[in-house]
Symmetry: C2
Subunit: 120 residues, 2 copies
């Protein structure tokens, strides 16, 4: 069953790790420092963030540049591979704005999408 390499499966495997998509989305707006990124992502604790960033660097999606150790200053930026994940985020964006509507508890899907005045 899994004797052949499936890149999509691999990609999904780490794209679904918690905060990864959020991190990429944030970095698409430009390079960030650690705390800056943390704030922008919103709700990820530093231990997890460190782990995710290490992994993203290891995979080759993010570039980590230590500008100075003391005082600490670091920049995280997307590599070319990371940048091209923009397409994925954009599609999620398109999907979300089409099908997701505000709901009190959870995200709920809006049914009326295809009922607009357009012929697919």
């Amino acid at each position: 069953m899994d004797n052949d390499f499936c890149p999509v499966h691999e990609a999904i495997q780490f794209l679904q790790e918690k905060w990864v998509l959020h991190i990429v989305r944030s970095l698409l707006e430009g390079p960030r420092g650690f705390n800056e990124l943390s704030r922008s992502v919103g709700g990820c604790n530093p231990a997890t963030l460190t782990q995710r960033l290490d992994r993203l660097v290891e995979i080759g999606i993010v570039d980590k540049e230590v500008q100075s150790v003391m005082p600490p200053r670091t920049q995280y930026r997307l590599t070319a591979a990371g940048q091209s994940l923009q397409r994925v985020i954009e599609e999620i964006d398109t999907w979300a704005t089409s099908y997701l509507r505000p709901s009190a508890d959870r995200g709920a899907v809006c049914e009326k999408h295809y009922l607009s005045s357009e012929t697919p």
Copy 2:
């Protein structure tokens, strides 16, 4: 900070739940039964799969149709909203086949993408 509703954030929140993208990807190929889906997804245990499916049904991405209780036979299929996630999966596919190469331990990004005979 989060006083306004961000659909993308919401979407990422559940798309990054473990196995969700795998499940959607599998169901894009057609409706599946429970065990069939489990096998196709590969590695997800029934407890988690049940939970994910319940949630996807609740959100409105998946439709669950119980054809018979005994002998048990159930069909899971994507709703229109679920179907349109195909775009997202396709972009992941495109990205993965461009940037991911087989590696022994983890997914590693292939650097040579932009070194082809094209001028960006």
